[in-house]
Amino acid sequence: MEVPLTALKKGESGIITSIRAAPGRGRCWGWGFQKRLVDMGLTPGTKVKMIRSAPFNGPIEVLVRGYRLILGRGMAERILVEVQR
């Protein structure tokens, strides 16, 4: 099942399938950040584990490629993952 990264529960893992660009604005908007996400190791096919999410709709903390990464919620919602059970 494909869900946004933010939908993972604490301790759950998922495999990244794709990163959605911001709707309606084409490739330019958010392109830099998409590149940054990929540069930080969030490439398609990578396993990501949810560690926790900050309250008040704050960022999430995930484990990726052996290190902990913090992602703003808006950004993380655009990362789609296949949940692993």
């Binding site: 908007w29 190791g41 490629r65 052996g66 290190y67």
Partner: protein, 648 residues
């Protein structure tokens, strides 16, 4: 004998101990400045080793060589164009895969390279064992294991560096991509054959496929046909893989990094969570995390400002004690007025603001950063900071702004992009600092009541929110999102922190001293020439006409630019009373305080802004805030007069 000069650059991810290695190498011979025309910090130092004079440059900590940030652009231009004799790639042994991703890019850039495999101790604690000889063989790059905070491996690193430079020994491997990509890289390389490039051709070919804006721009000027070819090839790759071509290439690079990491490291899974792990869980927890953060933040505030207040008072008593001596030598005439009232008081202002507040601030900031706690604060405060278009890290400078805007401005450097730094700097200068609190409480609080003082703070917050949002919309560039590594906790390296503090303090003083002294002398000269009154008259359309204040306040507002609390002190001196309610109406007090609260903090803050953002942006902030303060004051005057809440 003239010594031979060498240039060595340190490159690597953030949080890998790069600055510790830099400090171990260069000791006290450092120069901290900005990259020419940029707001990115540049740290340089020199050392002597085996008959060489070696200039070491600490490049910014980055994760990739794309053009996401200024730091990345600076790094790759420095390596490719300035051609240092050697690049030392500092690699965090405990996060090998992601670090190697960067190493592979340095290899692609064909930089003369050695690797400092740092934080070997932390890797060991995490149960990671690395066969560095094997890594050396796979990459074709010499690898030296180091534990920089203990000074281990630093000598070997230098030795190896000299050896590699002298023998030109390193022969890095070429990182191969999938066949369908390699084929297209070669097509591009042959298309690029006749063009004079400042970067290696293979690297340019890869970057074209990665749709790198900077490289595209440069190639477009040389031969737009190649760009079209690159676009076509990238589209083909996108079709084959189903993902954008830049993503495909980055993925393959990461695959390669992962493969190498797996080959050279052994990970023994640990059974119980380490101490660092447990502290991490506590400090990011939704309840304990915030509690600890509040305590830490209050503690920092307390330390900086009680230390600052106390030392500032002490220093100012001490320095003002010299006034009689100056009087004795120079007499009571205008000469004494200029030397003492202009130059010396400028110096005193500088010393009493800079040293007591900035020293503890820098020490604490670096400690927060190096220990890894800053990342936790950013995590917890992100959603709140988003409301003003910033992200979690901005919380630190904003909080500090309530004490003193100077360290707050300097603290904006923790933000990642130039845009974020500037935005945070703008917001920070609007925060009422301790000096403005003196005016708010001493005038409005004392004569109109505490609820009016509180109202001013609320108005201020609303304005910060509003202007922050406007600036956020108006400034070009991408919106802010938090993408940040959460580093493991570690004990900061005290010696590095002290050196970092000292060199940054020195750089700040070099900017602020002339600025403060010159402006203080000018104001003194104006006073001695008897121009204060005429000047007030010149300003009267604004002060009297627009703001509805007495004419004499014009002078105090000018003096306020030296230090904000001077506005109140001078007001008392010029009006000849501290019973302000006998000379000012409540409405005038409110408007006066509102203007004082909003217009640009003080000359020292302008100096700090200049140091961080360059003089153009510092000027922009200054002019914007002065204009806005006058505008807001006049509006408040009219609005409150119509509403008839405050007596006028």
């Amino acid at each position: 004998m003239t010594r031979k000069r060498l240039r060595i650059a340190l490159a690597g991810n953030a949080n890998v101990g790069k600055s510790v290695i830099f400090n171990q190498l260069t000791g006290l011979h450092q120069h901290i400045g900005n990259w020419p025309g940029k707001t990115v910090e540049k740290a340089e130092g020199t050392l002597h080793f085996k008959g060489y004079t070696i200039d070491v440059i600490d490049l910014p900590g980055i994760y990739s060589l794309s053009t996401f940030s200024l730091e990345e652009l600076i790094t790759r231009e420095y390596i490719a164009i300035e051609n240092p004799d050697l690049v030392i790639n500092v690699v965090d042994a405990s996060v090998l895969e992601r670090n190697l991703f960067f190493t592979l890019q340095l290899i692609e850039l064909e930089a003369p390279l050695i690797i400092a495999l740092n934080q070997m101790d932390m890797a060991e604690k995490k149960g990671i064992k690395i066969d560095y000889k094997k890594l050396e063989k796979i990459l074709g790059v010499p690898v030296v294991p180091t534990v920089a905070i203990k000074g281990r491996g630093i000598y070997d690193l230098l030795n190896k560096a000299i050896e590699v430079i002298e023998k030109r020994a390193a022969k890095p491997v070429t990182i191969k991509y999938g066949e369908e990509i390699e084929e297209r890289i070669h097509q591009l390389i042959s298309a690029l054959k006749d063009i004079q490039l400042k970067y290696p051709a293979r690297w340019v070919a890869i970057k074209l496929l990665e749709e790198d804006e900077q490289v595209e721009k440069e190639i477009r000027e040389l031969n737009p046909e190649i760009l079209k070819l690159a676009e076509k090839l990238a589209e083909e790759i996108e079709k084959i893989h189903g993902h954008p071509c830049p993503t495909v290439i980055t993925s393959e690079r990461y695959e390669a990094a992962g493969r190498i990491a797996r080959e050279v490291q052994q990970i023994l899974p640990s059974i119980k969570p380490s101490l660092s792990e447990r502290i991490h869980n506590l400090t990011t927890h939704r309840v304990t995390g915030y509690l600890i953060m509040i305590l830490v933040v209050l503690g920092i505030f307390q330390v900086i400002f009680s230390f600052g207040d106390y030392t500032s008072g002490l220093l100012s008593d001490l320095l003002y004690g010299y006034e009689p001596i100056f009087e004795q030598i120079l007499g009571q005439g205008p000469l004494k007025e200029i030397v003492w009232g202009g130059i010396m008081e400028g110096i005193i202002a500088n010393i009493t603001i800079a040293l007591p507040y900035i020293i503890p601030f820098y020490l604490i900031l670096y400690m927060l950063e190096d220990s890894g706690y800053l990342a936790r604060i950013a995590f917890l405060m992100d959603s709140l900071m988003h409301k003003i278009g910033l992200h979690g890290k901005a919380f630190i400078p904003i909080m500090l702004g309530y004490g003193c805007n100077v360290p707050a401005c300097l603290g904006c450097r923790i933000m990642e992009t130039e845009r974020e730094r500037f935005l945070a700097g703008f917001v920070v200068t609007l925060i009422p600092c301790a000096a403005r609190t003196v005016v708010i409480l001493g005038l409005v609080g004392a004569f109109l009541g505490i609820e009016w003082a509180l109202a001013l703070y609320i108005i201020n917050l609303a304005i910060v929110f509003l202007l922050g949002r406007i600036a956020f919309k108006v400034l070009p560039g991408e919106p802010t999102a938090l993408i940040m590594e959460m580093p493991d906790y570690r004990i900061p390296h005290l010696k590095t922190i002290i050196k970092q503090t000292w060199f940054r303090l020195k750089e700040f003083l070099e900017i602020s001293f002339p600025l403060i002294i010159v402006s203080s002398v000018i104001i003194k000269l104006v006073e001695i020439q008897g121009l204060l009154k005429p000047l007030s008259q010149v300003l009267s359309p604004i002060t009297v006409g627009w703001l509805g204040l007495p004419e004499i306040t014009g002078v105090t507002l000018i003096f306020g630019i030296l230090r904000k609390e001077l506005t109140l002190i001078m007001l008392a001196a010029l009006l000849g009373t501290t019973n302000f309610d006998s000379v000012l109406t409540p409405l005038q007090m409110f408007v006066f305080t509102l203007v004082v609260m909003l217009y640009v903090p003080c000359i020292a803050t302008i100096a700090a802004c200049t140091r961080e953002f360059g003089w153009k942006k510092a000027l922009a902030i200054t002019v914007t805030e002065i204009t806005f303060a006058i505008l807001a004051g006049g509006l408040a005057y009219r609005l409150l007069a119509i509403l008839n809440i405050l007596e006028h």
